[in-house]
Symmetry: C4
Subunit: 116 residues, 4 copies
Amino acid sequence: MELPPQVQNMLAQLQTVQQQLQMVVSQKVQLENALKEVENAIQEVEKVEESTPIYKSVGTVLVKTKKEDVLKELNEKKETIEVRIRALSRQEEKLKERLKELQEKVKSMLSGVQAG
Amino acid sequence: MELPPQVQNMLAQLQTVQQQLQMVVSQKVQLENALKEVENAIQEVEKVEESTPIYKSVGTVLVKTKKEDVLKELNEKKETIEVRIRALSRQEEKLKERLKELQEKVKSMLSGVQAG
Amino acid sequence: MELPPQVQNMLAQLQTVQQQLQMVVSQKVQLENALKEVENAIQEVEKVEESTPIYKSVGTVLVKTKKEDVLKELNEKKETIEVRIRALSRQEEKLKERLKELQEKVKSMLSGVQAG
Amino acid sequence: MELPPQVQNMLAQLQTVQQQLQMVVSQKVQLENALKEVENAIQEVEKVEESTPIYKSVGTVLVKTKKEDVLKELNEKKETIEVRIRALSRQEEKLKERLKELQEKVKSMLSGVQAG
């Protein structure tokens, strides 16, 4: 049995939404790992005395810096990542709702097809 | 010839166990590489004089540290990795046994099917 | 309906060009990321005082360098990357044109086939 | 037309040899890149004055070292890589010969089949 065009169309939309959801989730996982790394760096730098030599890496270059400056940068980086994670979480929620809606529609359409 | 449902079910279980085994083995290989890296770092740091400048990298930051402190951290890291490798080895053993059992069952079921 | 040999041949060419285009685009993306990294390093090094200790990494080795020397190297690297990006952009344009031509040909061939 | 067992067997061997060849070639490419990196590091370290501070990275740790010591280590690393590249080149040659032999055999077998 061939599926009617509107069901095929729904299934195509469903697949697109699933792919978008997968991409959002994988970006979130990556950012959550980056967040852990930054939080760990902040924790390690905070432990250190004011006079301890610290370098930061910028690409292939290492530049000497101060505890205070590097903590400020790391905290800014942390906030940027957190903002992006929150945005991705909102996207994730919306895509999950959209997915549920589409699944319901496909389900009811298919039961209509089978009944017809 | 179509396979009977219980054989199909067994084959599905077999595939799941094989995939779990693959994942466990690949995690073990990764941890064994991490272990080699840590052991190599311990060896190199031990060779060095007490007064030699040493930095440890924390994310994108490098912080000056002492031979004694870095050796303590590296040894803790080593132990953590060893514990995880032992846990994965136990899982590997169990999955291999489970795989063997399932293979035996599928074999005897299939000989039953062919005889029937 | 089987496709006539010249259409099959065109479709094979089309696929080759699409693959070449994908490779060029992915190389360009990689180089654009490398460019951003170098530009960011230049910006960070420029901010720093003449007397600030700077190291550059060469494989697994870090060598102390000067602000002036590292900036010269980073700017050379930047130029090399920019030259390669421009070459890839030209290739990309040519492949896109070739793709469009082939798509037009296949389209007109196929309409000829259907009409025949 | 189904292929005779000995031809199928030959084709299976051919595929195995092709896969082995691919693996050897990809390992060689990786080692050649590692060689370039080491050679580049040697070149950069040689340019530097005896008094220039140099660190070597061992995993996540950086240890201060001397120009002389790091050059010795890098040259040893270079030799190890070169030995492995030579071994892979010999393997590559043998696999290519084996591949050619198998291709000839399959060809003559298939012409025999078609004639029969």
